[in-house]
Structure formats: structure tokens, C-alpha cells
Symmetry: C2
Subunit: 156 residues, 2 copies
């Protein structure tokens, strides 16, 4: 079994590409383009994207939709998981990550929105920011076109 | 419009009874008996109970199910809301409360489980604990009978 922190950078980028595919699916449905995948031992076990527009959901941010899609897992089943998300997680999603003690979160960017990253780190969650232009550009375009939907999603 | 902090104590107890009814609905479905209602200007606008067993959900804690049931609300629409929940909110649910800036959370108890209450208070969320034996007893009985389901729900 690979150690999370030893996952090669190109593997991080491949899984982030899968999260970006989720974000694109969301965009194609008219939704907020944020996507996530949950990876365990090199396999995707959950995937999801923001469902505010599509399902009128207030709780299905990409990370939450992904955790829900992964289904019920015993608590120690999360300990070798990595969550990939195209955007820095908000305080709700960070709370879910802390609740289930997912040890590593890889994010696409934190320029369009920066969640409470210190809150994650204070709870022993490691964070890697791939800082990808492709993630920034897709969401930035959406925010400029739909500021009211975006603000609603982040509680502003 | 009533000020949240001026809500009479008997009104808090009446709404908590509604949250307890949700918990009982959960129990009758074979689920974890935690319930919640969201109240705005003296009216219940959302209600829910834990759905781990019933829907195999990892994210539908009572508070999350309640927020989802309330539907999409503009951010400033939460500012005169009160969330009633039979149990001290976990870190995920606390994150959702902070995200939407719900100013007052009334809980039934925090003996069976105590969430990060300081995290709520540090984010300007007021917390009132009604410390009700009825809330404690129902959940305690469930935990004793189904410790593995309970531990899964709180990430242990």
C-alpha cells in the first residue's frame, strides 16, 4: 500500500483531472463547476460535483456529494484515503473531512475561494495545493457570469 | 420580528419537542435518533433526522438533513434563523452552521456526544443547551444497542 504522502505528483494530477471532469459535468448541467473524487489505495471510490443548481441542494458541495457517493465506510476505512477537489474546501466540507479523518486533501486551487485551511491542518489533515490554472479559469468564469449563485453557495 | 436571543424558553422547548419528534421518526425507521428543525420568525422552515441507516448516507446527519429540507435560501435569509437539534452538532454540522451563519443553535444535550462547541462560539454562533433528560435517554439507549452504527456516524 502506498503512503499517501508518497503518492507521485503525476498521480495527484491524474486524479485531479478526474475531479475536473466532475466539475465539467456540473458545468454542462448548468451548475457550479466544482468537482471531487475520493481515492483509496489508488482507486476512485467516490465522485461528485456541486449540486446547488441541479438539485437545489444547500449541502451537496462537490466534496459532500463525493463522500455521499462513496457510501458508508467504517471510520478506519478513511485512513488511507485521499480527497481530490478542484477548490479549497469550505468550512462545511472541511468539517466533513475532519469528522472522517481523511488524512490528505489535494486541491486544485485556492484563489477563487480559500476555505479554513488552517482548521484542516490544526486537525492533522495534510493539504497539497496543485495551484492549477485550469481549475481557476473554469470557476472564475462561472463566478463572473453567476455571482448570485456563487455567493449563495458560499454563504455570502 | 423577534430577536433570537429573546425567544422565550417555553418556545425553545416547543421547537425542541419538534426536533425530538424527528428523532423519534428516525428511530421508528430503524435509524439513529437525532432530529433537527430550522425555525425562522417563529415558523419551522425545515426539518430532518439522521439518515445513515435509512439512506446509507454519510452526510445526512440530522442538522444537514434539516438544512437540505429547508431548501435554497439566500445567505442573508439565515440571519434570523434558529437551528434546534437534539444533540450537540459534530464538526461537519458545525461547519454547515458556520457556512450559513445561523446565529443561534439550541441543543437538547451534549452528554452522549459533544461537538466542537467552542468552534461555533468562536465563529459568533450562540449556543443554548436545554440539557434534556428525554434527549439523552433516547440516544443513549440506541448507542448501547448499536455501538457500531453510532461509532461509524461520528467517525470513530
Amino acid at each position: 500500500m502506498k503512503e499517501n504522502s508518497d503518492t507521485p505528483e503525476d498521480e495527484h494530477h491524474w486524479f485531479m483531472f478526474q475531479a475536473q471532469k466532475e466539475a465539467i459535468n456540473g458545468l454542462n448541467e448548468g451548475g457550479i463547476p466544482v468537482g471531487a473524487v475520493l481515492v483509496k489505495n489508488g482507486e476512485i471510490i467516490g465522485r461528485g460535483h456541486n449540486q446547488r443548481v441541479q438539485m437545489n441542494s444547500t449541502i451537496l458541495h462537490a466534496e459532500m456529494a463525493c463522500l455521499e457517493n462513496a457510501g458508508r465506510i467504517k471510520a478506519d476505512g478513511y485512513k488511507d484515503c485521499i480527497l481530490y477537489t478542484t477548490l479549497s474546501p469550505c468550512v462545511m466540507c472541511s468539517g466533513a473531512i475532519i469528522l472522517y479523518k481523511i488524512p490528505l486533501v489535494v486541491i486544485g486551487e485556492n484563489e477563487n475561494f480559500k476555505g479554513p485551511e488552517k482548521h484542516l491542518q490544526d486537525n492533522n489533515i495534510q493539504l497539497i495545493n496543485l495551484d492549477l490554472k485550469s481549475c481557476k479559469k473554469m470557476l472564475k468564469t462561472f463566478i463572473l457570469e453567476h455571482p448570485e449563485i456563487w455567493n449563495e453557495d458560499i454563504g455570502l
